[in-house]
Symmetry: C2
Amino acid sequence: MNARRATISDVARAAGVAASTASVVFSGKTPVSDATRERVMAAAKELGYTGPDPRAASLRRGRSGIVGVVIGDRLRAAFRDPVTTVMLDGLAEGVAAQGASLLLLRDDDTSEEPQLQSAPADAFVLVGCSTRLREALETIRGRGVPVVVVEGDAGEGVPQIRLDNRDAQAVIARHVASLGHDDVVLVTLPVAEGRAAGWIETAPLPAIAVDVTRDRLHGALDVFPDARVYASGGSFIDQGYAAGQAILAAPGPRPTAILAQSDMIAAGIIRAVQDAGLHVPDDVSVTGFDGVQIDGVAPLTLTTMVQPAAEKGRAAGVAVSQMLAGDEPADMLLTSVFRPGDTTGPAPRPGASGPDPSA
Amino acid sequence: MNARRATISDVARAAGVAASTASVVFSGKTPVSDATRERVMAAAKELGYTGPDPRAASLRRGRSGIVGVVIGDRLRAAFRDPVTTVMLDGLAEGVAAQGASLLLLRDDDTSEEPQLQSAPADAFVLVGCSTRLREALETIRGRGVPVVVVEGDAGEGVPQIRLDNRDAQAVIARHVASLGHDDVVLVTLPVAEGRAAGWIETAPLPAIAVDVTRDRLHGALDVFPDARVYASGGSFIDQGYAAGQAILAAPGPRPTAILAQSDMIAAGIIRAVQDAGLHVPDDVSVTGFDGVQIDGVAPLTLTTMVQPAAEKGRAAGVAVSQMLAGDEPADMLLTSVFRPGDTTGPAPRPGASGPDPSA
DNA sequence: TCAGCGTACCGAATCGATTCGATGGCGAAC
DNA sequence: GTTCGCCATCGAATCGATTCGGTACGCTGA
């Protein structure tokens, strides 16, 4: 009814106490007698006051209880990526433990990113660290707000939550090598923002802006230095399918194994292989990375590296808490574990097209 | 270096102007001479001042530029649902148009939802309207903050963004009926929070707490009043698979068509049908709802109703803008369109197991 | 009886910016 | 030359809550 909403001073006046007393009734930071508490509560109810204005409280306290998370320019892309969503879920859980919630920010370059400037966040989490995100990072550091970076190198002073991408990719590559494969193709995540898919040179290896892509590629090249490399356009099944088609259509001998940098890509590749009338793993072995639930592969089980995606988010949440508490959290390196599946098998004998009968 | 960060007063003092003048230099709300602007900017740079503190600004303005979106208790569940993610993306786009961003809130009942109380949001968007969300709604309305509800009935005064669920489901049901089917099973979305899957009675129809489920069910029953109804436990492929298995294992004649309330469920059902050695659509026709990209169905194309999920989010964003501008936006009803696929076909003749040769 | 002490409450300062009416100066018009 | 009006700038009030040093009061112990 009233044009203006009641403030805590109104409540205090109605209850016959000082505003400071009414404040502690709500915050509970100082003991208050039961009688006073009740009077204040009654007055609040009477006036329709439901609690302190978060805006005023956050100004005074210097904390808003908000953690900004900067993801790609398009939320949908982040949402479509199962690893990101699981990570976000873990992050939400991590920051919720300290009573904070997540503010979704897109690093939209068109709008001059005023969001990053004007978002009342206590800290920020950057996911990935593309060139675009580096600008975001500058903006945030300029504000003097804590930042944590997940899966990306942000320079000194910014705690990182990283995965053992290189080692993990080497682990699965060695598994493939141990099965006798030596003619393999690597399919990477995008090498740069919005770059089209296609074969890339390995000698010399071009600069790769995306950390994850680079590290996993290096891990695979550690084992298969001569492998051909195809960069996919994104971590989606259809992109993997396209990559698979391109690889099978390429001149020269067909690879006996294809190592993808994500499960989604692997799923697409498997389908492309099957659609070409070939069998996985008898004709071609395929590996993934991430260990997420993918619907397109069944009844096969993808051989992959399972990364602790939720743990990644939770760790970021913890790091944020620590920074807000004034500590400087150490970098964190999470490890992936090998999960054998039935999409890898012994390398076929040259000329043979079925499973190796001697195996 | 300095313990305390510079404020706009510091900048103003350094530039030799009043704080109010420095303020307008940053906000641009009042013309300022170029000379003054430059002096202020120089002083700001000198002091490392990167712009007004969002907390203070939002207190004074009464706006924080934040729209809270309340989704399920578990972000992951919302993220796994393709319709929700697309809707969120549309919503993000809608609110970004007015310079706001999204604050993710879980309606966690365990923590007494202090987030809803203390989140500095200008408005809220509720997604779905389960019993749990009704409490959230009460909390928010108590704060006197605008609310918009997507896909749920929230009572008078709360603008709704709805889908023509009943009509749309009737449309696709009529399509199935026109193909000669009369023994159909309906598979619904969950009928209540955390309710286990299973057959439900239709005479009398039990109270269904979830609006979407109820409305779509009514639409199907409008066409097939005698259909059996199986409530799934969630809109996921594995839940659909389980539902499919349960339906095929049920005593009595096998239905010739199964109408699912979501594409995910439909995809699971299709796989269950195929795993049982049957063919879609020759033995069993299957329909979905939502029109999202599902990976598990290829090479088939699902017959479904395509709902404008992104548009739903965008409409919610627009409604929020209007409410913030003081208007009371009208409810909005979005319509789905029928998309024929090849998962529906003529009803098989009793006893025949292949496609109807006379068709 | 009075010093000593703990509890509950009060007042005032403060967080950092924005807004708006007031003011001063300067050019144009009569 | 004086007045009018406009534009840039200033000052003070304000947004709503929190915090902290201080005070009053009641109780215990010598």
